[in-house]
């Protein structure tokens, strides 16, 4: 049941974008294409899980035993930056066409904030490895739901013609606010 609670909480109740405010930049900049949003969700899932595993291991098996937990910030950011980029390099190295196809398909994932945030939250909520992974996956799905909904909304807004003053970020933020309001209905679900 615990796992179920983590999943529901990360996807609906404490949606990473709408309630925790992580990954707002990509959320605001999402493309209008639904397929891209879906693709991005897939990529984010992988990266988040990877980052969570690595940072979890570092935290639990290096920092804590040495009681240097205060190095969390600096080591996480280094590890995430290096690891995530390493995957890309490897991908580019082993299969350039694949890498190129991805490059054209996906806008690059600048979700540092969400990835780092999920890694930190995993530690903060004292999840174990498995729970951490599930939390990361669920967070990514929560992120996905938010950006997929927003991809549709964006397109709609563009087509309908929002008043000049509200065009772009302002109306996107207001719509996100209303969506967050609606998501508050899920409170208490877990």
């Amino acid at each position: 049941m615990e796992i179920f609670a983590i999943v529901i909480s990360a996807i609906l109740v404490n949606n990473i974008v709408l309630m925790q405010f992580l990954g707002i930049c990509p959320f605001m900049g999402v493309s209008k294409k639904l397929s891209t949003a879906v693709g991005m969700t897939g990529a984010v899932t992988f990266v988040m899980v990877l980052a969570t595993i690595v940072t979890y291991l570092i935290q639990t098996y290096v920092l804590e035993p040495l009681s240097i937990g205060y190095l969390q910030t600096i080591s996480f950011i280094l590890v995430i930056a290096a690891f995530v980029q390493m995957v890309e390099i490897v991908l580019k190295k082993v299969s350039p066409p694949l890498y190129q196809a991805l490059g054209v398909f996906l806008p690059l994932i600048t979700t540092n904030c969400a990835i780092m945030g999920v890694a930190l939250l995993t530690i903060q909520n004292s999840y174990n490895l498995m729970e951490g992974i599930i939390f990361a996956i669920s967070s990514a799905i929560g992120f996905g739901i938010a950006i997929i909904l927003f991809a549709g909304i964006r397109e709609h807004l563009d087509l309908m013609g929002v008043p000049k003053g509200m065009r772009g970020t302002p109306i996107a933020l207001v719509a996100a606010g209303i969506l967050a309001m609606a998501f508050m209905g899920f409170s208490g679900l877990v």
Binding site: I68, Y70, L71, I74, S187, G188, V190
Partner: protein, 192 residues
Amino acid sequence: MAKRESTFGNMVITLFAVTFIASATLGGIYELTKEPIRRALQAKKEASIKKVLPEFDKMKSFKVLYEEAGDSLEFNEAYLNGEHIGTAIETYTDNGFSGRFKIMVGFLPDGTINNTAVLEHKETPGLGDKMDASKSDFSDQFKGLEPTKPNLTVKKDGGKVDAITAATITSRAFCDAIERANKALETKGGTK
């Protein structure tokens, strides 16, 4: 600008130097702030213990396993001039509106509640957070109560506790946390 070349050696040396300096500095800062942080934490805890117990001069802290939850609660036994004047128990509940919150409950040696203090919570600002003594007088009603069932049940459910308006969930959870502390105190063998 006479920038350094990006040779492999240069790079490793630079990065090593940077991290070395950074780590040394951080270590230093950590040493410097360790004490204040510990004190801040301590102060916070002590403040809450002080709040929930009468004057004391000595304290003994230990963890007690609370069987029902398979979890341990922290007991802080306070003594004044060697005499046991009460126990402050750090307890929690998972029934809060937004999940777990922690409170400190002070019991007098006779088992009555002396006072309570909120340690950590995620309840809604403006609603659930009124359980904090600084925000409303909700918690006052527990002062000096016997931790009996009706005394720890909100009126809506037939008990005696006036719930915070529109935050019955929090109020119930609050009672639940006290009850947990009380049970632990009792099972521990009534250290009075």
